[in-house]
Symmetry: C2
Subunit: 214 residues, 2 copies
């Protein structure tokens, strides 16, 4: 009986933790990870401050847990739907479509969480910088593997410079997000889609396999 | 005599103001505009706190003056050297070279001031957001005019989609900056130069006029 009660308490604690982290990731996408405050999160979510402080020992711990939560949300919205498509050019297109939808639909209210938090922590040192750098490196490697796959399948030219193509695709997606959030306009998404298709057409073995629009 | 003494005081005040703002722009490029504190700037520069507070009424006033200072520094390092080159493809190349040098040489210690501050304020509302949006719009218009010039001179194809090309060039430059600051690596600058040249080659009337490398 004591065990059951304890399990219930642990589960409630986990649920509360998830609730706080989802809110923290949303706030950080607008106001930055430095803008996070355990006290304010408690007030926003009508939780006791002491309870929230007990779950996260320090602001840095909260920031690191928020980055992990954002990575999980990104996986759910971008990475997993991409893996669901068959490998090749189609999977690259799905990846770009999912990314644009993730930014456009404001999964995070401030647009891409990583765009905001990378610009905030890129020039600093410490555990949060390192966590963000690892998340970004993971994403770049994911994009490169999707291109590599398409090349192995013979859908992309043998002489394609894979890291270069990945750099260009990521550049288009990131500026589309930044431009959309800054100007509250969808124009950047259209421009990014056009730029990506143009770039893929130049690398595709059979360009007619690509759609006219993204 | 009283007039001279007053002139001297005004001039000293202006110099102090410039000193504070240069420091503020440098700090903000690493820690963000929200990270600015009049008290800390006074301590860093060994000035009296009351004197610094007298020059800037509020944190928002300091942030807005910092954005204006950053725009002036950007003009000096990127915009003016670009105008010094003859119009056409050569001026577009000079613009990209100057931008890469401005980021690579860390004119601002945290990399491009605007990359950092745009990501920080893009999803917020208020005077600082509006000042940043105006600075960004001015830069986009500048890039578009340089491309338009080259088209008018017959160096770029008549059917070039000017805002699209400007979007792509800016996307490459911004990711090069972000990548360089995050990973402390110059690789992104090489990638951006390669991507820009490839893109310009596709739009140039005489691609042989372009150099092999940027």
């Amino acid at each position: 009986m004591a065990g059951e009660r304890q399990d219930g308490r642990v589960e409630r604690g986990n649920r509360t933790r998830q609730l706080i982290l989802a809110r923290a990731a949303a706030v950080a996408s607008v106001e930055g990870l430095e803008g996070l405050s355990l006290g304010r999160l408690a007030t926003d979510l009508r939780l006791s401050k002491s309870g929230v402080f007990a779950l996260f020992g320090s602001k840095e711990e909260l920031q690191l847990a928020t980055v992990r939560t954002a990575v999980a949300i990104y996986d759910e919205h971008v990475v997993r739907p991409t893996r669901a498509a068959p490998a090749g050019l189609g999977r690259i297109l799905r990846m770009c479509e999912r990314w644009i939808a993730y930014s456009r639909e404001r999964v995070f209210p401030g647009g891409c969480f990583f765009y905001a938090a990378l610009a905030e922590f890129d020039a600093r040192q410490g555990a949060v910088h390192d966590a963000m750098a690892a998340a970004q490196a993971g994403w770049v490697a994911f994009v490169e593997r999707r291109i590599e796959e398409a090349r192995t399948l013979g859908e992309i030219r043998e002489d394609c410079d894979v890291p270069q193509l990945a750099f260009e695709i990521i550049a288009f997606l990131e500026l589309a997000n930044g431009d959309s959030v800054l100007r509250d306009s969808p124009e950047g998404y259209t421009r990014a889609g056009r730029a990506i298709l143009r770039r893929l057409r130049a690398e595709a073995v059979d360009a007619s396999a690509l759609p006219a629009e993204l």
